[in-house]
Symmetry: C2
Subunit: 146 residues, 2 copies
DNA sequence: CCCGAATAATTTCAATACGAATTATTTCCA
DNA sequence: TGGAAATAATTCGTATTGAAATTATTCGGG
């Protein structure tokens, strides 16, 4: 692992840690954990999704999401219901309380929202576009899909 | 969380997952976990480091690193010794076996090494430089240090 | 139509991961 | 210098994480 490779690794890791720290902050404000908030947000954007599809969307294992959903159901934020089309599957949706929670977390007081806006103020659209393109390219090569 | 912000979040998360998957693969080949390999690698690059400094370098909590070091000591890959300068601190170093393990993990057979090289073959030095610069800029803004 | 392969979810287990509390030691300043 | 504040590490509790095994169901080819 020579210089450049190491730089790339550390850069990716640092950006991710910074991002998760913000999500954790917003999540803590409404009394949940970061992964729970990410799951709620995903469900807000796409209701009635199957557990497997949710796990795929989030790049998490089924077992992981299954446990997280357990806790969200216990907290009254999410409901599980068996799929009518496929009796193996379960369909997930937000409860009213779940909706309120995610909206409160990412609402006016959200640190993450403020910082993401700041990025758009301080970095030009061309550079952001460039950033996303390179990020995607690096990811594709890392996955061996080039 | 509108379009661009979400794109940035997902891009960062995806790159990190791809990276960690590779590290996990190399680590599994030598019979350890990804975090354990990252710790061993860090110790290879900087021997005789204090636990607190190691945790800081890796952006991990002290308690987390303490537990990971426990397992590495049990496996005979790392040794703990009390610092002479500061009796509160412990100094960490690799054993001979620890050195061999990390060198084997990131040696010729390393998938991560191969993919990082591939990045340098497929992406121009200017673009890599640009990538690292933007990555750093985004991280700084996310941390609120702009 | 039927049975083996594939798929969806859960459970279990070991390893992260972090915050809070605790213990031991050092620092620093009144 | 004496003691409060800060620092280093560990322990504890809870919540991720993913691989592997398990169960239930669906799919697909003969």
């Amino acid at each position: 692992m020579e210089g450049i490779g190491r730089d790339i690794m550390y850069a990716i890791a640092r950006a991710q840690k910074a991002l998760y720290r913000l999500i954790r902050e917003d999540a803590a404000r409404v009394g949940i954990t970061e992964v729970q908030l990410i799951v709620l947000y995903t469900l807000l954007k796409k209701e009635h999704i199957r557990l497997h599809d949710l796990a795929e969307k989030l790049n998490l294992s089924n077992s992981n999401v299954s446990g997280t959903v357990d806790r969200l159901v216990s907290a009254g934020l999410v409901v599980r219901e068996p799929s009518k089309r496929d009796r193996r599957a379960v369909i997930l949706s937000l409860t009213e309380k779940g909706k309120e929670t995610v909206l409160a977390a990412f609402g006016e007081q959200s640190v993450l929202r403020r910082r993401l806006q700041r990025i758009q103020e301080l970095i030009s659209p061309e550079e952001i576009e460039q950033f996303l393109r390179l990020q995607e390219k690096v990811k594709t090569i890392l996955l061996g899909e080039e």
